[in-house]
Symmetry: C2
Subunit: 556 residues, 2 copies
């Protein structure tokens, strides 16, 4: 049996667009001599649909989409993810479902049994877990058909398991010939390698070929890396789709390595910074386009964050679709006039200058009539950022371009950013990229020629909101800050644990305090592209009004 | 047995503050001759703790808090909600738990079996469902101890049930003498009456007295109304705590109506608008105080929304803690100079004027050098709102007062508001109040004397961002808009269904389009106080980048 791994990039709710993609990929698969074409999880409606699932008309449209596909694609077997209704009178009203259809009829249905409900996933919010766990024999091959998380509960891989059930084990025990897993598994650093190693291990453990078909593309904060893959019964990688792009690869179960390797194993990003860059480009392109925009506008400061954001945008949208604006004040250094202009020239993007001094003076007349330019307080600093944010939004209103904001994860964590100022924008491109990683990713643009001017990569970071300001006057060294933040945010460590690891106690406590204090800013932040295992945003839901006082020693 | 219903207002994460409240309430209960004092669900850490539950140090602090209570309150039985760890190696790591302790020892533990995971609730994200379902006999009385949702699955009450299990039925069948339910059940319009009727019905159905103890107070978007209640075995209401305030009432199981009714049945808001007003006041007070603020600042326009917001704030925080600012432009009518000043005088709050014209001129020099004041476009309109928003934030920076934003639910739904402009603020006080209800709630301030000037209640709503602008030029009549929004947002109806009900097709489609287009604004909105069954915010999770195109008729 020849199986096509059809790695598509659906748009949430675009039923006719998603169906057209599937019809097209099915035709390619048939042309390649395949017996079966496999699409990702929830391919009809795109993943994650969120609370659109609460709308009966949305679920109906998804069922109409499935039925239209069944009527249209008759000449090849098709496995596709969709939303089904739960006919029983108890439990959640929907299933996260899979159908296998052929010749105008649905031959088999399966319902996802393990429903991820953590981090960015909310599946128990909408879905009832499936109960059945049965093989389906198609053209003489016993298929173990599973959906994403169903394959993520092997006791040899996960020391602490979230679920008691292991659908893969149960299906393998029934004598499966191949394990097929349709998926919508988003990217974060390290996830792709973990996923491929896990699937190879399942193949070896059960001596079964494995076919994994992942969604690709960006949907809001999530970027799905694709990297769909096939493994032979020894765990050897025999087919792999590209990452961050639509792709189709074929796996022949009878002769998995017969075709030339270059046809079967497609190239993927060779390093973590490369993968992060690809995720940012894909996430930006898809967010802008799926929101119905074509162009973006970005404020350039002369710093590394806005430089990386602009470079990502130019690659994602095309230079002709990116406009930049430099908004200097009295605190802007001479270098930044040159560096921003040079960057814009290198990227081939539009560039204009809008000094903010007269607007600032008009604000200060009301807010700080006795303002001393040599020592701007927090009010005066924030107003500068808000003037720039308002100018960007004005340019957006006039041109129809989406504002991309430029803040990184380190500053968002500790609130070193201005709400309604530099946080303004429809998408925060690098808001899940820690500052130390910003440099690594930015360097990928300069491997062949100097795209980001070297001085931007080398200067000391500064907000330039008061004279001679440098980030490191207000923040710990970024290497220290990022290490503590990783421990706190990604690894859930306590302040005490991080101090015990050797970090300076005062620094650690100050970072914890600032992260907690700034929940309110992050609550109002634009969506950002998730690239780490724990991003601020929908996968991290902290209360704002809170106090974290441990019980006192003597009495409560 | 005499039971004290101890309705406390915990702060999330304030273990020592919450414990001190419980020690204090337990002393009151003992003084009133009670055998048992009952506290709400998760009373140690406050509800909802959100992803703080993912932090092992947070869970430890909650267990330390429980242990300190066990050591401190020895002279009365105590039922309290807390977070326990799941000792098993499969499943979520925590339980939503209840302990009964007395004399320095925990006598009984129960784990919540039904875990709400819908709307604002995320319990399956963190908790493993309890399995055991056992009575505990305390002082000869067989107690059926349940946690919130455990009592919300009666098949006579819920036609379509989310869960197969019914813990109340199972416990009643074992011969319970009383059903005790500890709870954190938030307010929305109609919920209190539904909840009380449901509890009365359970009492009648099983011929069992029922004791329900609810959390009270605001935590971020949620306001818990309290209204803890006791019912006799015929379903008669024999005890009820106040709504929206801490309170303690006593229910004597042997003689439930022996005490005078006024001691047992405390007053609650007499109507929906009264309850909404109380929810807004409590929600504002708790948000401001629990975030560590004392004062608020509000922009007054002369319209009803900012008037209601200011009146709520003055009641919640005290007039001395509220500052208002009027920011007129060339488009501001003369009436609004008078009306805002009169409102501020009536409320006894500080008032200042900051005209925005010079700042606007400075912006337009950059953005619209050929600006025509007679016909401001969207760019010029938004800039006005953003200048006001930035001035408010500047006043906040200078004074340390929290900005309260003033938008209502109707305009937030269709995006008739400016992001980074009038949406600026730490709390959006009335963002879940539809415009038609804004008038009803505002009228409650004028029952005894004219607090909100009558002209504010009577004038046509206007954003005053261009000459002679009125909301109804850009929006449907608010009565129509609110009816369609209720059908769409609260009742999940399709456009077709609302058209079939008699609404104008073009109006309905336009509202649906605008609601969908403006997800991005709401994503960046301040938290608002939930008063309807479906608020924008954490209980409604819609993707931003999406398209909703049904499959086409002919082929996909």
């Amino acid at each position: 049996m020849k199986i096509a791994l059809a790695q598509i990039n659906p748009t949430v709710g675009d039923f006719s667009g998603n169906a057209a993609k599937m019809v097209n990929f099915a035709a390619q698969a048939r042309k390649a001599g395949c017996d079966l074409v496999v699409f990702p999880e929830l391919a009809t409606c795109g993943y994650p649909p969120g609370d659109l699932l609460e709308r009966p008309d949305f679920v109906d449209a998804n069922l109409d989409c499935l039925n239209a596909l069944v009527d249209t694609i008759g000449d090849i077997g098709v496995v596709v993810g969709y939303v089904d209704r739960n006919p029983h009178n108890a439990g959640k009203r929907l299933f996260n479902a899979l159908a296998l259809f052929e010749g105008g009829r649905i031959r088999f249905r399966a319902f996802k049994r393990l429903l991820p409900t953590y981090d960015v996933f909310d599946e128990q919010r909408h879905f009832e877990p499936g109960q059945a766990c049965e093989l389906y024999t198609y053209q003489g091959v016993r298929l173990a058909l599973t959906i994403c998380e169903d394959a993520w509960n092997d006791p040899d891989i996960f020391a602490s398991r979230i679920y008691a059930d292991d659908p893969v084990e149960r299906l393998a025990a029934q004598g499966a010939d191949v394990l097929i897993n349709i998926s919508a598994s988003p990217f974060h650093i390290g996830k792709r390698d973990f996923r491929l190693a896990m699937l190879a291990r399942l193949a070896r453990k059960y001596a079964l070929p494995v076919v994994h078909v992942n969604q690709v593309g960006g949907n809001d904060s999530l970027v799905f890396d694709g990297t769909s893959a096939g493994f032979d019964a020894t765990g050897g990688l025999v087919a792999r789709a590209r990452d961050f792009e639509e792709d189709l690869v074929v796996m022949d179960l009878r002769a998995p390595t017969a075709a030339p390797e270059a046809q079967r194993i497609h190239p993927v990003a060779p390093s973590d910074p490369d993968a992060v860059l690809a995720a940012l480009v894909t996430g930006t392109r898809d967010y802008v386009h799926k929101c119905g925009f074509k162009q973006a506008v970005i404020g350039l400061s002369g710093g590394i964050d806005s430089a990386l954001t602009a470079a990502v945008a130019a690659r994602a949208l095309g230079s002709a679709n990116v406009a930049t604006v430099f908004m200097p004040s009295a605190y802007t250094s001479a270098d930044n006039y040159e560096d921003t202009a040079q960057l814009a020239r290198n990227l081939g993007v539009a560039y204009r200058t809008m000094p903010i001094d007269t607007i600032l003076a008009a604000f200060l007349e009301h807010l700080a009539p006795d303002f001393d330019p040599a020592a701007p307080g927090i009010t005066e600093q924030n107003i500068q950022a808000r003037i720039r944010g308002s100018l960007l939004m004005g340019l957006s209103n006039r041109s129809g371009a989406l504002v991309l904001s430029t803040g990184n994860k380190s500053e968002l964590a500790v609130g070193y950013c201005t709400l309604y100022g530099d946080m303004n924008g429809g998408l925060a491109v690098i808001s899940d990229v820690p500052k130390t990683l910003v440099y690594e990713v930015a360097a990928r643009f300069n491997t062949e020629q100097e795209v980001i001017p070297r001085r931007i990569l080398e200067k000391a970071p500064s907000a330039e909101l008061k004279p001679d300001q440098e980030d490191q006057d207000d923040l710990p060294d970024y290497a220290v800050l990022d290490a503590v933040l990783k421990g706190m945010v990604e690894e859930f460590k306590s302040a005490e644990a991080l101090i015990a690891e050797g970090h300076d106690p005062q620094t650690v406590r100050d970072i914890f305090r600032r992260v907690a204090l700034n929940e309110y800013k992050r609550h109002q932040a634009a969506p950002g592209i998730k690239v780490t295992s724990k991003a601020f945003g929908s996968g991290r839901r902290y209360p704002i009004a809170k106090r974290y006082r441990p019980p006192s020693q003597d009495h409560p």
